[in-house]
Symmetry: C2
Subunit: 498 residues, 2 copies
């Protein structure tokens, strides 16, 4: 049977069973912890069999993961009405709809915090862990696949474990994971990462072998993520940022390699990182969540010397290139549990520059990352809060308008706050960059309106700000009008009357 | 001259000068870092002389401190129009007015972050440090007074230092400070505090003696802070919390001594801590910012075994009692720089229970700590964000109504967000306690309305929530109505029509 050779501890061979049999171990009401982060490294056969099973059996689970799952697994489980509760992050269009309809209870969480919340009883205990593996070693270590996520935590916490051996994963990945699980309080020490490239853990997940209840073999590959080519706006955003970094280095305010970088996921972030390709920066490092194509391009061009993340979310061609040339990369990347990749202690110690995408921000620099018009969940806060709060410099990027100008990404007041003005240092749109460090709200507003707002909204924003200032306050607002742009959008599909 | 004996390094005696002379070292436009935190441990003679000087000299400074200053120093400097910019926190009525009028640029900051922001060039460098001292040792160590704040950081960063020897401070305080300054990145290691009582630094501030430009002697004492006696509502809040803690311990979710506690400043927090007095808890620990009377009462009654803070803000009688019986306390308290007392790394490692006061919160658990009706600054976020984000359990307390019922502290949508729903676990009013851990927004709303809202607003909140749910969303809102309670309050002084 294809895959048995990956179970190198032979005494485990008799635990191999079909996915359809393994899922019967998962009971209605169970709290299930699954591997998967950034659409990579999820178990596939078991969750998909679970969705099938739920179609004609009463089954509602609480699903905890690393972060988003590939292969539309959230969507398939949702279609089967198998999800009662979901955390800490998702990015599936179908599940999003059920969440916004109030049918699935979604607990949007900082990615770094979920494991501690379970460990210390703020969230229910994990009943079963479903973990994708590249292999199980002779010593019984579970080698993760394309992400580390919360897998090690779930294995430690769960009553029992289902391991899914992923035959599609190139076995050469063994060795790139850095698995470390913080001790429970009160005997917890510091996490000893001093440099982005420090290895502090083992290459796989330790497991009490008694807890392995089933092993399933999988042949469905990770999802590929093709990135949009940068467009005029994302290129402009990248350029503003590169210029800012160059000026900071020239002024002696940033080290020559900038310090470790974090980047959110998506096309804008990808464009920004591609911007480094044509810059003079070198010896770059990442200490981030998701390693995208651009990470490997920067390694290829000699610009980046090391990248730490929790997952690899790659296009098909990039994935093939990386696997075919893995020797070039294996000492330059590391995949860590999200408790490490997103850890406040480490982020603050290393002095990370965090670059994340905003849904919208307001003139005072508060950022909405999650809720369209203040109500409808898009994906979730993900790691943006972990990085933004503790970063040396916290940057948010977005295009100044959306939907062909019908929506301004710069608004009088955000309709939902995920990141407060205390935490947000730099805002960038294709229009320009607003450096808000050390500024009071009234000063921030002038910068944001001048540098970030689209010209077609600039005058309206300035009018709002000036009229609000007449009423006074540290953060001037007109409460009747503050959310009127969003209300108008809800009613007409446009933020202002044509 | 009274106080010379406290300057035990005699070579410094010739730097002693009157405050009026020392202030001439402070130039127009200077960035001045002053000691002081929680209204304790501020320099007094120099700032007050500076206010006098500014009355008839052109002088506008940027003032950075630990946190709030006693002796109305912010007010006096503000009256003299000596403040151009102010951070990271203040609590003076007069300065508040100037801030809200847009006359003083106020940069409200997380208390733990300011030093790093200066050290790594997100804020301007400190030109002059003005630091209150109990003594200067034979070795030239500056022994702080009633607070540690950012004093050690300012001394390290400043071009020159003015030391103010505070003759009113009992010299027995020497030894209770734990002064440790993190290294600048990229060579920063972990902060080695593993238990609340660990000492990791020295008892005083090291200084390059060349930088001491002046020493001033002061005879004005620290301000005393009398606490209101607990009233019916604050007693009820305390009782709800104690019951919650007891239930958590009984369920095995919290250790018997709860783990280290943090408490915000003020009468409600004081009442809550007094609630422990009549509880069965023992071996309590604090890892907090400000040690108030209640801390020492709990030590007196044997309930509390150790308290770490950044300042002591005491009533006159408590201060006298503590100083007269200092032997009982000296091994049980420690005053640390706010980079340690409020540090995310340590807060998360220790698993702190954080109890802070909200100005208002909304049905989904977002908290406003700073802005009245979304616009007017009250004091500032202080350390509430440092603790809330990283706490094991983050709690906010407030009375359910203010101004004799004209204002509901529970609103449809907060008019300003300082703490997002991701970070807020427990809300408490005199009406009851809402445990929001692991709940989605719609579930949170039901708990908050049922357990926390005042009966006179409960129906209106439920009506809002139900009508919002009809429109859907992860966090249902009616954008036209979301801030209407605050708008109504601005117009009529009441949140709803009589």
């Amino acid at each position: 049977m294809n895959g048995l050779d990956r179970i190198r501890l032979h005494s485990l061979h008799d635990k191999v069973m079909p996915a359809a049999q393994a899922v019967q171990l998962i009971k209605d009401g169970a709290v299930v912890g699954m591997s998967g982060f950034g659409g990579a490294g999820e178990a596939k056969s078991v969750p998909l069999a679970l969705a099938d099973y739920a179609k004609d059996h009463p089954l509602k689970i609480t699903l905890a993961t690393g972060a988003s799952l590939g292969n539309q697994i959230d969507g398939r489980l949702n279609e089967a009405h198998a999800l009662a509760r979901r955390y800490p992050y998702q990015a599936d269009p179908g599940l999003r709809q059920s969440i916004n309809a109030g049918e699935v209870m979604y607990i949007d969480q900082h990615l770094s915090e979920m494991a501690d919340n379970i460990r210390h009883h703020n969230l229910p205990q994990i009943n079963v862990a479903v973990i994708a593996a590249t292999a199980i070693t002779e010593d019984g270590l579970i080698i993760p696949t394309g992400s580390s996520g919360n897998s090690a935590n779930f294995v430690e916490m769960a009553d029992f474990v289902i391991v899914e051996i992923d035959n599609t994963i190139n076995p050469i990945l063994e060795g790139i994971h850095d698995i470390y699980v913080p001790k429970a309080r009160p005997n917890r020490g510091p996490i000893p990462i001093i440099q982005a490239s420090d290895r502090i853990g083992s290459i796989g997940i330790s497991v009490d072998l008694e807890k392995i209840a089933a092993i399933v073999l999988n042949d469905l590959p990770d999802t590929s993520f093709a990135m949009d080519e940068p467009d005029t706006e994302t290129l402009a955003i990248a350029q503003h940022l590169i210029q800012f970094f160059e000026a900071e280095v020239a002024a002696g305010r940033l080290p020559e390699n900038l310090g470790p970088l974090q980047s959110g996921v998506g096309s804008i972030a990808n464009a920004v990182f591609s911007g480094f390709e044509h810059s003079n920066f070198h010896d770059l490092e990442m200490y981030s969540e998701v390693l995208q194509d651009c990470t490997f391009q920067l390694i290829d061009s000699g610009k980046m010397k090391f990248a730490s993340g929790s997952s690899m979310t790659l296009s098909q061609s990039c994935a093939a290139h990386v696997m075919n040339n893995f020797d070039q990369y294996k000492d330059k990347i590391m995949l860590r549990p999200q408790e490490l990749s997103n850890n406040p202690e480490i982020i603050r110690r290393l002095g990370i520059i965090a670059i994340n995408t905003a849904l919208e921000f307001d003139i005072y620099g508060n950022v909405n990352s999650t809720h369209v018009a203040g109500t409808k969940m898009m994906n979730g806060i993900g790691g943006s809060g972990d990085f933004t709060r503790h970063a040396h410099i916290a940057i948010f990027v977005t295009k100044s308008v959306a939907k062909a100008g019908a929506i301004s990404s710069v608004v009088p007041m955000v309709s939902h706050t995920d990141h407060t003005d205390h935490d947000v240092d730099i805002l960038v749109t294709e229009q320009g960059l607003a450096d808000l460090r050390g500024l009071a709200p009234r000063e921030r507003a002038l910068k944001v309106i001048e540098h970030c707002a689209h010209p077609s909204y600039r005058e309206d924003l300035m009018s709002y700000f000036e009229r609000a200032c007449e009423k006074g306050g540290q953060t001037p607002h007109l409460l009747h009008e503050a959310l009127s742009w969003h209300a108008q959008f809800q009613e007409t599909g446009r933020m202002k009357a044509v």
